[in-house]
Protein backbone atom coordinates (compact mmCIF):
# COMPACT_ATOMS: atom_id res chain seq x y z
CA UNK A 1 0.00 0.00 0.00
CA UNK A 2 1.52 3.29 -0.97
CA UNK A 3 1.46 6.56 0.85
CA UNK A 4 -1.32 8.07 -1.24
CA UNK A 5 -3.67 5.19 -0.52
CA UNK A 6 -2.81 5.37 3.14
CA UNK A 7 -3.47 9.06 3.36
CA UNK A 8 -6.77 8.64 1.53
CA UNK A 9 -7.77 5.96 3.99
CA UNK A 10 -6.79 8.21 6.86
CA UNK A 11 -8.86 11.01 5.39
CA UNK A 12 -11.88 8.77 4.99
CA UNK A 13 -11.55 7.42 8.50
CA UNK A 14 -11.16 10.83 10.07
CA UNK A 15 -14.01 12.34 8.10
CA UNK A 16 -16.18 9.46 9.26
CA UNK A 17 -15.11 9.77 12.89
CA UNK A 18 -15.07 13.53 13.11
CA UNK A 19 -17.96 14.00 10.71
CA UNK A 20 -16.24 16.64 8.66
CA UNK A 21 -18.69 18.38 6.47
CA UNK A 22 -18.42 20.54 3.44
CA UNK A 23 -19.15 24.17 2.97
CA UNK A 24 -20.90 25.26 -0.18
CA UNK A 25 -17.58 26.49 -1.49
CA UNK A 26 -15.96 23.11 -1.07
CA UNK A 27 -13.95 23.85 2.05
CA UNK A 28 -14.30 21.68 5.11
CA UNK A 29 -16.04 22.82 8.26
CA UNK A 30 -15.86 21.59 11.81
CA UNK A 31 -12.30 20.50 12.40
CA UNK A 32 -10.07 22.13 13.26
CA UNK A 33 -11.90 25.28 14.24
CA UNK A 34 -11.25 28.12 16.66
CA UNK A 35 -12.62 25.96 19.47
CA UNK A 36 -10.05 23.28 18.85
CA UNK A 37 -7.27 25.41 20.20
CA UNK A 38 -9.29 27.77 22.44
CA UNK A 39 -10.85 24.93 24.41
CA UNK A 40 -8.25 22.19 24.27
CA UNK A 41 -5.23 24.45 24.00
CA UNK A 42 -6.07 27.35 26.31
CA UNK A 43 -9.17 26.91 28.46
CA UNK A 44 -8.42 23.41 29.67
CA UNK A 45 -4.75 24.21 30.28
CA UNK A 46 -5.29 24.81 34.02
CA UNK A 47 -6.75 21.32 34.32
CA UNK A 48 -3.79 19.75 32.54
CA UNK A 49 -1.40 21.60 34.84
CA UNK A 50 -3.40 20.65 37.91
CA UNK A 51 -3.48 16.97 36.95
CA UNK A 52 0.25 16.99 36.31
CA UNK A 53 0.90 18.63 39.65
CA UNK A 54 -1.30 16.10 41.43
CA UNK A 55 0.75 13.22 40.09
CA UNK A 56 4.20 14.76 40.04
CA UNK A 57 4.22 17.10 43.05
CA UNK A 58 5.62 16.32 46.49
CA UNK A 59 4.57 14.97 48.98
CA UNK A 60 3.48 12.37 46.49
CA UNK A 61 0.64 9.91 46.85
CA UNK A 62 -0.49 8.48 43.51
CA UNK A 63 -3.52 6.89 45.17
CA UNK A 64 -4.84 10.26 46.25
CA UNK A 65 -4.13 11.71 42.84
CA UNK A 66 -6.12 8.91 41.25
CA UNK A 67 -8.84 9.53 43.81
CA UNK A 68 -8.92 13.18 42.74
CA UNK A 69 -9.34 12.16 39.10
CA UNK A 70 -12.11 9.76 40.09
CA UNK A 71 -13.83 12.63 41.90
CA UNK A 72 -13.63 14.81 38.79
CA UNK A 73 -14.79 12.14 36.38
CA UNK A 74 -17.42 10.81 38.80
CA UNK A 75 -18.98 14.20 39.44
CA UNK A 76 -18.98 15.04 35.73
CA UNK A 77 -20.66 11.72 34.96
CA UNK A 78 -23.17 12.22 37.76
CA UNK A 79 -23.98 15.69 36.48
CA UNK A 80 -24.59 14.62 32.89
CA UNK A 81 -26.32 11.35 33.67
CA UNK A 82 -28.60 13.24 36.03
CA UNK A 83 -29.29 15.73 33.28
CA UNK A 84 -29.93 12.93 30.79
CA UNK A 85 -32.50 11.37 33.09
CA UNK A 86 -34.13 14.73 33.69
CA UNK A 87 -34.31 15.60 30.00
CA UNK A 88 -35.59 12.17 29.04
CA UNK A 89 -38.34 12.58 31.59
CA UNK A 90 -39.20 15.94 30.08
CA UNK A 91 -39.24 14.26 26.68
CA UNK A 92 -41.60 11.54 27.76
CA UNK A 93 -43.92 13.94 29.54
CA UNK A 94 -44.07 16.86 27.16
CA UNK A 95 -42.86 15.91 23.68
Amino acid sequence: MNLATLSMLAWDASSYLLQWRYHGDGSVVSFPGPGTWIIFGVVLMPIYVMALAWFLGKPADPKKAVMGVVYLVGIAALLWIGMLVQTLMIGVTFF
Binding site: L17, L18, Q19, R21, V29, S30, F31, P32, G33, P34, G35, T36, I38, I39, V42, V43, L44, M45, P46, I47, V49, M50, A53, W54, G57, P59, A60, D61, K63, K64, A65, M67, G68, Y71, L72, I75, A76, L79, W80, M83, L84, Q86, T87, L88, I90, G91, V92, T93, F94, F95
Partner: protein
Protein backbone atom coordinates in the same frame (compact mmCIF):
# COMPACT_ATOMS: atom_id res chain seq x y z
CA UNK B 1 -17.53 42.89 67.43
CA UNK B 2 -17.81 39.72 69.37
CA UNK B 3 -15.06 38.59 71.65
CA UNK B 4 -16.26 35.01 72.00
CA UNK B 5 -13.91 32.27 70.90
CA UNK B 6 -15.31 30.15 68.13
CA UNK B 7 -15.52 26.42 68.65
CA UNK B 8 -16.88 23.30 66.96
CA UNK B 9 -20.26 23.80 68.54
CA UNK B 10 -20.61 27.05 66.70
CA UNK B 11 -20.11 25.55 63.29
CA UNK B 12 -22.31 22.57 64.13
CA UNK B 13 -25.19 24.77 65.20
CA UNK B 14 -26.95 24.84 61.82
CA UNK B 15 -26.94 21.04 61.80
CA UNK B 16 -28.11 20.57 65.34
CA UNK B 17 -30.63 23.33 65.80
CA UNK B 18 -33.63 24.13 63.72
CA UNK B 19 -35.51 27.31 64.47
CA UNK B 20 -39.03 28.26 63.54
CA UNK B 21 -37.64 30.84 61.15
CA UNK B 22 -35.80 28.04 59.38
CA UNK B 23 -39.07 26.25 58.66
CA UNK B 24 -40.67 29.46 57.46
CA UNK B 25 -37.81 30.11 55.07
CA UNK B 26 -37.85 26.54 53.92
CA UNK B 27 -41.55 26.76 53.21
CA UNK B 28 -41.34 30.09 51.44
CA UNK B 29 -38.43 29.13 49.23
CA UNK B 30 -39.98 25.77 48.42
CA UNK B 31 -43.26 27.43 47.48
CA UNK B 32 -41.57 29.99 45.24
CA UNK B 33 -39.43 27.36 43.59
CA UNK B 34 -42.37 25.03 43.06
CA UNK B 35 -44.43 27.87 41.68
CA UNK B 36 -41.82 28.41 39.04
CA UNK B 37 -41.59 24.71 38.29
CA UNK B 38 -45.34 24.76 37.72
CA UNK B 39 -45.09 27.72 35.36
CA UNK B 40 -42.23 26.06 33.58
CA UNK B 41 -44.42 23.04 32.98
CA UNK B 42 -46.97 25.31 31.36
CA UNK B 43 -44.16 26.57 29.14
CA UNK B 44 -43.17 23.00 28.31
CA UNK B 45 -46.72 22.12 27.44
CA UNK B 46 -47.64 25.25 25.49
CA UNK B 47 -44.34 26.22 23.99
CA UNK B 48 -42.02 29.17 24.38
CA UNK B 49 -44.77 31.48 23.16
CA UNK B 50 -45.73 31.95 26.82
CA UNK B 51 -42.64 34.13 27.16
CA UNK B 52 -42.38 37.67 25.84
CA UNK B 53 -39.78 36.58 23.32
CA UNK B 54 -40.12 36.55 19.55
CA UNK B 55 -37.87 36.39 16.51
CA UNK B 56 -35.64 39.36 15.88
CA UNK B 57 -36.00 40.78 12.40
CA UNK B 58 -39.44 40.60 10.87
CA UNK B 59 -40.64 38.85 14.05
CA UNK B 60 -40.38 42.22 15.77
CA UNK B 61 -38.92 40.99 19.04
CA UNK B 62 -35.82 39.57 20.61
CA UNK B 63 -34.62 35.98 20.43
CA UNK B 64 -33.04 35.95 23.83
CA UNK B 65 -34.19 37.91 26.84
CA UNK B 66 -34.49 37.58 30.57
CA UNK B 67 -33.63 33.87 30.65
CA UNK B 68 -30.25 34.44 29.06
CA UNK B 69 -29.63 37.61 31.07
CA UNK B 70 -30.40 35.77 34.30
CA UNK B 71 -28.24 32.86 33.20
CA UNK B 72 -25.25 35.19 32.90
CA UNK B 73 -26.16 36.82 36.21
CA UNK B 74 -26.14 33.51 38.08
CA UNK B 75 -22.82 32.48 36.58
CA UNK B 76 -21.52 35.84 37.74
CA UNK B 77 -22.74 35.28 41.29
CA UNK B 78 -21.14 31.86 41.23
CA UNK B 79 -17.76 33.59 41.08
CA UNK B 80 -17.99 34.49 44.74
CA UNK B 81 -16.54 31.13 45.70
CA UNK B 82 -13.54 31.66 43.51
CA UNK B 83 -12.72 35.09 44.80
CA UNK B 84 -12.85 34.00 48.41
CA UNK B 85 -10.94 30.79 47.84
CA UNK B 86 -8.31 32.69 45.90
CA UNK B 87 -8.04 35.27 48.63
CA UNK B 88 -7.66 32.63 51.31
CA UNK B 89 -5.70 29.87 49.70
CA UNK B 90 -3.56 31.53 47.11
CA UNK B 91 -3.13 35.06 48.39
CA UNK B 92 -2.99 34.18 52.09
CA UNK B 93 -5.81 36.55 53.06
CA UNK B 94 -6.92 34.32 55.89
CA UNK B 95 -9.40 36.77 57.35
CA UNK B 96 -11.90 35.53 54.73
CA UNK B 97 -11.48 31.88 55.68
CA UNK B 98 -14.77 31.73 57.66
CA UNK B 99 -16.86 32.62 54.61
CA UNK B 100 -14.84 30.69 52.03
CA UNK B 101 -16.90 27.51 52.15
CA UNK B 102 -20.18 29.39 52.06
CA UNK B 103 -18.89 31.13 48.98
CA UNK B 104 -17.84 27.85 47.39
CA UNK B 105 -21.30 26.48 48.00
CA UNK B 106 -22.71 29.60 46.44
CA UNK B 107 -20.70 28.67 43.37
CA UNK B 108 -22.38 25.30 43.14
CA UNK B 109 -25.81 26.76 43.78
CA UNK B 110 -25.28 29.63 41.33
CA UNK B 111 -24.04 27.33 38.61
CA UNK B 112 -26.98 25.01 39.18
CA UNK B 113 -29.35 27.94 38.76
CA UNK B 114 -27.50 28.95 35.59
CA UNK B 115 -27.63 25.39 34.26
CA UNK B 116 -31.32 25.29 35.04
CA UNK B 117 -31.79 28.43 32.96
CA UNK B 118 -30.09 26.79 30.00
CA UNK B 119 -32.69 24.04 30.09
CA UNK B 120 -35.58 26.41 30.74
CA UNK B 121 -34.51 28.55 27.81
CA UNK B 122 -34.57 25.75 25.26
CA UNK B 123 -37.33 24.87 22.85
CA UNK B 124 -36.52 21.18 23.05
CA UNK B 125 -34.89 20.58 26.46
CA UNK B 126 -35.52 16.86 26.08
CA UNK B 127 -32.74 16.73 23.49
CA UNK B 128 -30.26 18.78 25.51
CA UNK B 129 -28.00 15.86 26.37
CA UNK B 130 -28.44 13.66 23.32
CA UNK B 131 -28.08 16.41 20.73
CA UNK B 132 -25.31 18.36 22.44
CA UNK B 133 -23.14 15.54 23.77
CA UNK B 134 -23.93 13.37 20.77
CA UNK B 135 -22.28 15.84 18.41
CA UNK B 136 -19.78 17.31 20.82
CA UNK B 137 -16.77 16.06 18.86
CA UNK B 138 -17.95 18.10 15.88
CA UNK B 139 -19.43 21.19 17.46
CA UNK B 140 -16.77 21.96 20.05
CA UNK B 141 -14.48 23.15 17.29
CA UNK B 142 -16.80 25.94 16.24
CA UNK B 143 -19.76 26.65 18.50
CA UNK B 144 -19.27 29.17 21.33
CA UNK B 145 -22.31 27.68 23.02
CA UNK B 146 -20.59 24.32 23.22
CA UNK B 147 -17.53 26.04 24.68
CA UNK B 148 -19.81 27.43 27.36
CA UNK B 149 -21.23 24.04 28.16
CA UNK B 150 -17.69 22.68 28.38
CA UNK B 151 -16.35 25.34 30.68
CA UNK B 152 -19.39 25.54 32.94
CA UNK B 153 -19.24 21.78 33.37
CA UNK B 154 -15.53 21.98 34.16
CA UNK B 155 -16.12 24.81 36.63
CA UNK B 156 -18.91 22.96 38.39
CA UNK B 157 -17.01 19.69 38.55
CA UNK B 158 -13.85 21.33 39.83
CA UNK B 159 -15.66 23.30 42.52
CA UNK B 160 -17.58 20.23 43.63
CA UNK B 161 -14.34 18.27 43.78
CA UNK B 162 -12.75 21.07 45.76
CA UNK B 163 -15.55 21.00 48.30
CA UNK B 164 -15.57 17.21 48.45
CA UNK B 165 -11.83 17.07 49.09
CA UNK B 166 -11.85 19.76 51.78
CA UNK B 167 -14.89 18.23 53.49
CA UNK B 168 -12.98 15.00 54.13
CA UNK B 169 -10.96 16.67 56.87
CA UNK B 170 -13.95 18.25 58.58
CA UNK B 171 -16.34 15.35 58.36
CA UNK B 172 -13.79 12.92 59.75
CA UNK B 173 -13.08 15.09 62.75
CA UNK B 174 -16.64 16.10 63.44
CA UNK B 175 -18.12 12.73 62.59
CA UNK B 176 -19.28 11.95 66.10
CA UNK B 177 -21.24 15.16 66.40
CA UNK B 178 -22.94 14.77 63.04
CA UNK B 179 -26.41 13.24 62.75
CA UNK B 180 -26.55 9.51 62.27
CA UNK B 181 -29.19 9.46 59.59
CA UNK B 182 -26.70 10.78 57.05
CA UNK B 183 -24.20 8.10 57.97
CA UNK B 184 -23.96 6.56 54.46
CA UNK B 185 -23.26 9.96 52.99
CA UNK B 186 -20.52 10.72 55.49
CA UNK B 187 -18.98 7.33 54.80
CA UNK B 188 -18.97 8.09 51.12
CA UNK B 189 -17.50 11.53 51.68
CA UNK B 190 -14.63 10.23 53.77
CA UNK B 191 -13.97 7.03 51.89
CA UNK B 192 -10.39 5.85 52.26
CA UNK B 193 -9.49 8.68 54.63
CA UNK B 194 -6.22 8.48 56.52
CA UNK B 195 -4.51 11.15 58.58
CA UNK B 196 -1.50 10.97 56.32
CA UNK B 197 -3.51 12.29 53.41
CA UNK B 198 -4.08 15.74 54.89
CA UNK B 199 -0.86 17.12 53.57
CA UNK B 200 -1.32 15.58 50.12
CA UNK B 201 -4.92 16.70 49.86
CA UNK B 202 -3.91 20.17 50.99
CA UNK B 203 -1.45 20.33 48.09
CA UNK B 204 -3.94 18.92 45.60
CA UNK B 205 -6.54 21.41 46.74
CA UNK B 206 -4.08 24.24 46.27
CA UNK B 207 -3.54 23.25 42.65
CA UNK B 208 -7.24 22.74 42.18
CA UNK B 209 -7.90 26.22 43.51
CA UNK B 210 -5.28 27.64 41.17
CA UNK B 211 -6.84 25.88 38.20
CA UNK B 212 -10.34 27.12 39.08
CA UNK B 213 -9.10 30.62 39.67
CA UNK B 214 -7.58 30.82 36.23
CA UNK B 215 -10.45 29.10 34.53
CA UNK B 216 -13.53 30.62 36.12
CA UNK B 217 -12.99 34.36 36.03
CA UNK B 218 -10.60 34.63 33.11
CA UNK B 219 -11.79 31.89 30.79
CA UNK B 220 -15.41 31.46 31.76
CA UNK B 221 -16.85 34.82 32.69
CA UNK B 222 -14.13 36.82 31.01
CA UNK B 223 -14.03 34.31 28.15
CA UNK B 224 -16.56 31.93 26.75
CA UNK B 225 -19.65 33.64 28.19
CA UNK B 226 -18.92 37.08 26.75
CA UNK B 227 -17.77 35.38 23.54
CA UNK B 228 -21.31 34.15 23.03
CA UNK B 229 -22.01 37.78 22.19
CA UNK B 230 -18.70 39.49 21.55
CA UNK B 231 -17.82 37.27 18.60
CA UNK B 232 -20.87 38.27 16.56
CA UNK B 233 -19.94 41.21 14.33
CA UNK B 234 -23.54 41.88 13.34
CA UNK B 235 -24.48 43.27 16.77
CA UNK B 236 -22.63 46.50 17.54
CA UNK B 237 -23.95 46.44 21.12
CA UNK B 238 -22.17 43.14 21.70
CA UNK B 239 -19.25 42.93 19.36
CA UNK B 240 -15.74 43.67 20.54
CA UNK B 241 -12.92 42.70 22.80
CA UNK B 242 -14.08 44.81 25.74
CA UNK B 243 -16.93 42.45 26.62
CA UNK B 244 -14.54 39.99 28.26
CA UNK B 245 -13.27 42.36 30.95
CA UNK B 246 -16.66 44.06 31.15
CA UNK B 247 -18.46 40.79 31.88
CA UNK B 248 -15.83 39.86 34.42
CA UNK B 249 -16.22 43.08 36.42
CA UNK B 250 -19.98 42.68 36.44
CA UNK B 251 -19.58 39.09 37.59
CA UNK B 252 -17.25 40.11 40.40
CA UNK B 253 -19.53 42.86 41.70
CA UNK B 254 -22.49 40.49 41.79
CA UNK B 255 -20.38 37.71 43.27
CA UNK B 256 -19.18 39.85 46.16
CA UNK B 257 -22.71 41.08 46.71
CA UNK B 258 -23.95 37.51 46.86
CA UNK B 259 -21.33 36.56 49.42
CA UNK B 260 -22.12 39.63 51.56
CA UNK B 261 -25.82 38.75 51.68
CA UNK B 262 -25.20 35.07 52.33
CA UNK B 263 -22.65 35.72 55.09
CA UNK B 264 -24.93 38.18 56.76
CA UNK B 265 -27.83 35.73 56.71
CA UNK B 266 -25.80 32.97 58.34
CA UNK B 267 -24.22 35.28 60.85
CA UNK B 268 -27.60 36.54 61.95
CA UNK B 269 -29.26 33.14 61.97
CA UNK B 270 -26.59 31.33 63.96
CA UNK B 271 -25.17 34.10 66.07
CA UNK B 272 -21.82 33.97 64.32
CA UNK B 273 -20.69 37.50 65.04
CA UNK B 274 -17.44 36.12 66.37
CA UNK B 275 -16.83 33.98 63.28
CA UNK B 276 -18.08 36.11 60.41
CA UNK B 277 -16.83 39.30 61.95
CA UNK B 278 -17.54 42.94 61.12
CA UNK B 279 -14.04 43.02 59.77
CA UNK B 280 -15.01 40.54 57.07
CA UNK B 281 -17.93 42.74 56.04
CA UNK B 282 -15.75 45.82 55.89
CA UNK B 283 -13.30 43.96 53.68
CA UNK B 284 -15.96 42.52 51.39
CA UNK B 285 -17.64 45.89 51.04
CA UNK B 286 -14.35 47.45 50.06
CA UNK B 287 -13.86 44.79 47.40
CA UNK B 288 -17.36 45.47 46.17
CA UNK B 289 -16.41 49.10 45.73
CA UNK B 290 -13.26 48.21 43.86
CA UNK B 291 -15.06 45.92 41.41
CA UNK B 292 -17.89 48.44 41.00
CA UNK B 293 -15.30 50.99 39.98
CA UNK B 294 -13.87 48.66 37.34
CA UNK B 295 -17.40 47.95 36.12
CA UNK B 296 -18.12 51.65 35.63
CA UNK B 297 -14.71 52.28 34.12
CA UNK B 298 -15.32 49.73 31.36
CA UNK B 299 -18.80 51.11 30.74
CA UNK B 300 -17.16 54.48 30.25
CA UNK B 301 -14.81 52.98 27.66
CA UNK B 302 -17.77 51.65 25.72
CA UNK B 303 -19.72 54.88 25.86
CA UNK B 304 -16.79 56.99 24.71
CA UNK B 305 -15.87 54.73 21.83
CA UNK B 306 -19.51 54.35 20.85
CA UNK B 307 -20.25 58.05 20.72
CA UNK B 308 -17.12 59.84 19.56
CA UNK B 309 -16.82 58.84 15.92
CA UNK B 310 -18.07 55.33 15.61
CA UNK B 311 -19.61 53.51 12.68
CA UNK B 312 -23.27 54.16 11.94
CA UNK B 313 -24.59 50.98 13.50
CA UNK B 314 -22.41 51.30 16.60
CA UNK B 315 -23.38 54.92 17.15
CA UNK B 316 -27.00 54.00 16.81
CA UNK B 317 -26.75 51.18 19.35
CA UNK B 318 -24.87 53.37 21.83
CA UNK B 319 -27.41 56.14 21.49
CA UNK B 320 -30.22 53.69 22.14
CA UNK B 321 -28.42 52.41 25.23
CA UNK B 322 -27.80 55.86 26.63
CA UNK B 323 -31.41 56.84 26.25
CA UNK B 324 -32.83 53.81 28.02
CA UNK B 325 -33.94 54.15 31.64
CA UNK B 326 -32.92 50.58 32.51
CA UNK B 327 -29.34 51.18 31.44
CA UNK B 328 -29.13 54.59 33.07
CA UNK B 329 -30.81 53.21 36.19
CA UNK B 330 -28.41 50.31 36.63
CA UNK B 331 -25.36 52.45 36.06
CA UNK B 332 -26.67 55.03 38.52
CA UNK B 333 -27.19 52.37 41.19
CA UNK B 334 -23.68 51.01 40.81
CA UNK B 335 -22.31 54.56 40.87
CA UNK B 336 -24.25 55.34 44.05
CA UNK B 337 -22.89 52.20 45.69
CA UNK B 338 -19.39 53.19 44.68
CA UNK B 339 -19.84 56.65 46.16
CA UNK B 340 -21.13 55.20 49.43
CA UNK B 341 -18.26 52.74 49.70
CA UNK B 342 -15.73 55.43 48.97
CA UNK B 343 -17.33 57.69 51.57
CA UNK B 344 -17.32 54.99 54.26
CA UNK B 345 -13.63 54.32 53.73
CA UNK B 346 -12.92 57.99 54.30
CA UNK B 347 -15.35 58.32 57.18
CA UNK B 348 -15.48 54.99 59.00
CA UNK B 349 -18.62 55.85 60.93
CA UNK B 350 -20.65 55.66 57.73
CA UNK B 351 -20.15 51.91 57.63
CA UNK B 352 -22.81 49.58 58.89
CA UNK B 353 -23.60 46.00 58.01
CA UNK B 354 -27.12 46.98 57.14
CA UNK B 355 -25.86 49.54 54.64
CA UNK B 356 -23.54 46.94 53.16
CA UNK B 357 -26.52 44.66 52.67
CA UNK B 358 -28.50 47.43 51.02
CA UNK B 359 -25.55 48.11 48.71
CA UNK B 360 -25.22 44.41 47.88
CA UNK B 361 -28.90 43.97 47.09
CA UNK B 362 -28.91 47.13 45.00
CA UNK B 363 -25.88 45.94 43.04
CA UNK B 364 -27.46 42.55 42.40
CA UNK B 365 -30.62 44.21 41.10
CA UNK B 366 -28.56 46.54 38.93
CA UNK B 367 -26.39 43.79 37.46
CA UNK B 368 -29.43 41.64 36.67
CA UNK B 369 -31.12 44.55 34.94
CA UNK B 370 -27.94 45.48 33.10
CA UNK B 371 -27.37 41.92 31.90
CA UNK B 372 -30.91 41.48 30.63
CA UNK B 373 -30.73 44.88 28.99
CA UNK B 374 -27.41 44.01 27.36
CA UNK B 375 -28.88 40.88 25.78
CA UNK B 376 -32.05 42.60 24.61
CA UNK B 377 -30.41 45.80 23.41
CA UNK B 378 -27.93 43.88 21.28
CA UNK B 379 -30.74 42.15 19.42
CA UNK B 380 -32.83 45.30 19.14
CA UNK B 381 -30.08 47.26 17.39
CA UNK B 382 -28.32 44.96 14.94
CA UNK B 383 -26.15 46.13 12.07
CA UNK B 384 -28.85 45.00 9.66
CA UNK B 385 -31.41 47.36 11.12
CA UNK B 386 -33.76 47.39 8.18
CA UNK B 387 -36.51 45.82 10.24
CA UNK B 388 -37.14 48.75 12.51
CA UNK B 389 -40.64 49.51 11.27
CA UNK B 390 -41.69 45.99 12.22
CA UNK B 391 -43.92 46.39 15.26
CA UNK B 392 -42.91 44.82 18.55
CA UNK B 393 -40.98 45.35 21.76
CA UNK B 394 -39.83 43.02 24.49
CA UNK B 395 -41.13 42.91 28.00
CA UNK B 396 -40.64 39.72 30.02
CA UNK B 397 -43.72 37.68 30.74
CA UNK B 398 -44.86 36.67 34.22
CA UNK B 399 -43.20 33.28 33.76
CA UNK B 400 -39.89 34.91 33.00
CA UNK B 401 -40.12 37.22 36.00
CA UNK B 402 -41.08 34.38 38.29
CA UNK B 403 -38.09 32.40 37.01
CA UNK B 404 -35.82 34.85 38.82
CA UNK B 405 -37.67 34.36 42.09
CA UNK B 406 -37.83 30.64 41.44
CA UNK B 407 -34.09 30.28 40.99
CA UNK B 408 -33.45 32.44 44.04
CA UNK B 409 -35.78 30.11 45.91
CA UNK B 410 -33.84 27.18 44.55
CA UNK B 411 -30.55 28.61 45.79
CA UNK B 412 -31.98 29.41 49.22
CA UNK B 413 -33.39 25.91 49.41
CA UNK B 414 -29.99 24.52 48.52
CA UNK B 415 -28.37 26.36 51.44
CA UNK B 416 -31.09 25.44 53.89
CA UNK B 417 -30.64 21.78 53.06
CA UNK B 418 -26.86 21.67 52.75
CA UNK B 419 -26.44 23.49 56.04
CA UNK B 420 -28.24 20.59 57.70
CA UNK B 421 -25.80 18.04 56.38
CA UNK B 422 -22.29 19.43 56.44
CA UNK B 423 -20.62 22.34 58.23
CA UNK B 424 -20.75 25.48 56.12
CA UNK B 425 -17.77 26.96 57.92
CA UNK B 426 -14.46 25.17 57.61
CA UNK B 427 -13.04 23.55 60.71
CA UNK B 428 -9.77 25.12 59.64
CA UNK B 429 -11.35 28.52 60.05
CA UNK B 430 -12.29 27.80 63.65
CA UNK B 431 -8.87 26.39 64.36
CA UNK B 432 -7.35 29.41 62.78
CA UNK B 433 -9.44 31.89 64.74
CA UNK B 434 -8.79 29.98 67.94
CA UNK B 435 -5.12 29.94 67.19
CA UNK B 436 -5.13 33.68 67.70
CA UNK B 437 -4.42 34.64 64.12
CA UNK B 438 -7.47 36.84 63.95
CA UNK B 439 -6.77 40.23 62.55
CA UNK B 440 -8.11 42.89 64.77
CA UNK B 441 -9.47 40.97 67.67
CA UNK B 442 -7.73 38.91 70.32
CA UNK B 443 -9.50 35.95 71.83
CA UNK B 444 -10.38 36.77 75.41
CA UNK B 445 -9.97 33.32 76.74
CA UNK B 446 -7.39 30.72 76.05
CA UNK B 447 -8.28 27.81 73.88
CA UNK B 448 -11.43 26.15 74.97
CA UNK B 449 -11.64 22.47 75.47
CA UNK B 450 -13.39 20.78 72.68
CA UNK B 451 -16.58 19.17 73.79
CA UNK B 452 -16.53 15.46 73.27
Amino acid sequence: MSTKTPNEDDILRPIRHTSKKYYVMLAVSAVVFTAFLGLWMIQLAEGMAVTGLSDWGSGGGVTWGLYIGAFIWWVGIAHGGIILSAAVRLLGMERYMPVARLAEMLTLAGLSAAGFYIIVHMGRPDRMVTSVLGHYHITVHNSPLVWDVTVITAYFVMTATYLALTLRYDVTRLRDQLPNHFEPLYKLLTIGYSKKEDEVIERMVWWLALAIIIMAPLLLHGGVIPWLFALLPSYPGWFGAIQGPQFLTIALTSAISGVIILSYAFRKAYDWGHIITDDIFRGLTLWLGFFAMLFLWLQLQQIVSGTFHSTTDHAYATEAKLSHPIYIGSIAIVAAVLIYIFAQTVRKSLFSKRRSIVAAVAVLAATLAEKVFFVVEGLMYPTFSLYEATPGAYWPSVIEFVSVLGTIGMVVLFFLLVAKVVPVVELHAVEHLRGGHGHDHEPEKATEEVEA
